[in-house]
Symmetry: C2
Subunit: 139 residues, 2 copies
Amino acid sequence: MSDLLERLRGRGWRLTSQRRVVAEVLDGDHVHLTADEVHARAVARLPEISRATVYNTLGELVGLGEVLEVATDGRAKRYDPNAHRAHQHLVCSGCGAIRDVHPHGDPLAALPADERFGFTVTAAEITYRGLCPDCTGQA
Amino acid sequence: MSDLLERLRGRGWRLTSQRRVVAEVLDGDHVHLTADEVHARAVARLPEISRATVYNTLGELVGLGEVLEVATDGRAKRYDPNAHRAHQHLVCSGCGAIRDVHPHGDPLAALPADERFGFTVTAAEITYRGLCPDCTGQA
DNA sequence: ATCCTAACTTGGACTTTGTCCAAGTCAATA
DNA sequence: TATTGACTTGGACAAAGTCCAAGTTAGGAT
Ligand SMILES: [Mn+2]
Ligand SMILES: [Mn+2]
Ligand SMILES: [Zn+2]
Ligand SMILES: [Zn+2]
């Protein structure tokens, strides 16, 4: 993730303390934070950072393909820095926990041509749902 | 969908004009309306129906398994009356159009045991993304 | 080292989507 | 047709996100 800052500089970004902090917060490969969670953690390091800047920066990172937007429920979007290895998500219906998972095969291949209705289909996102070990116990 | 009203009566529902109208609006198998779209169409038939009742009724139908909630973007949830035949969704990234699709194979089968992290996995939702015929033209 | 300025950040107003509640209405049973 | 608990209503409230005018600053130019 530290080379993320390099890549951004290469793209002509001004390296502000705000952007640095957002990048730090997103560090790690199994992180799926909401914008407000990113903001809360950013504030811990840089108390005056605003919500607007967090939203702006996340949006820019998504636009550059450095971060993925994940909408597994109808609630707040989650921001996923693991943008460079294709993966899917396993979500606990009890507590909302999210894990990265790697199903085998190409999910696109399962959609036959006569089910594509003339669309140019470019991606398939799979959300697996179930109960995590903790939530399986207390029904 | 007219037997939906029968099923609901069987479950002890009061058959109010509001619920009847919401059921009528949801009639059809390839409909994916937002709550506000349902409300707008319901108002056309029953001008005094409230947003709260539309939300209540949709929530109840989802709870009964008669309607599915679909969250394909980070925007408003869509309500899908096609709850009795398993299917997935193909979404146009340009205009948001949604089609029901039926990929072959069991999507759950693609997730190996060592990628389940102790979860009891019960469902897999696939969102295929691409451009519809109309949007493929004007880049 | 200092200046300059387009790019960036900020707080708050605003929008969209959805929830909640107290008060009023009505469907269904008797 | 009387009763009553289920249902509906409007509006207040909340969560998630967008937008903007005004202020600040990173980084190139001097
Ligand atoms: Mn992920
Ligand atoms: Mn559908
Ligand atoms: Zn859980
Ligand atoms: Zn389209």
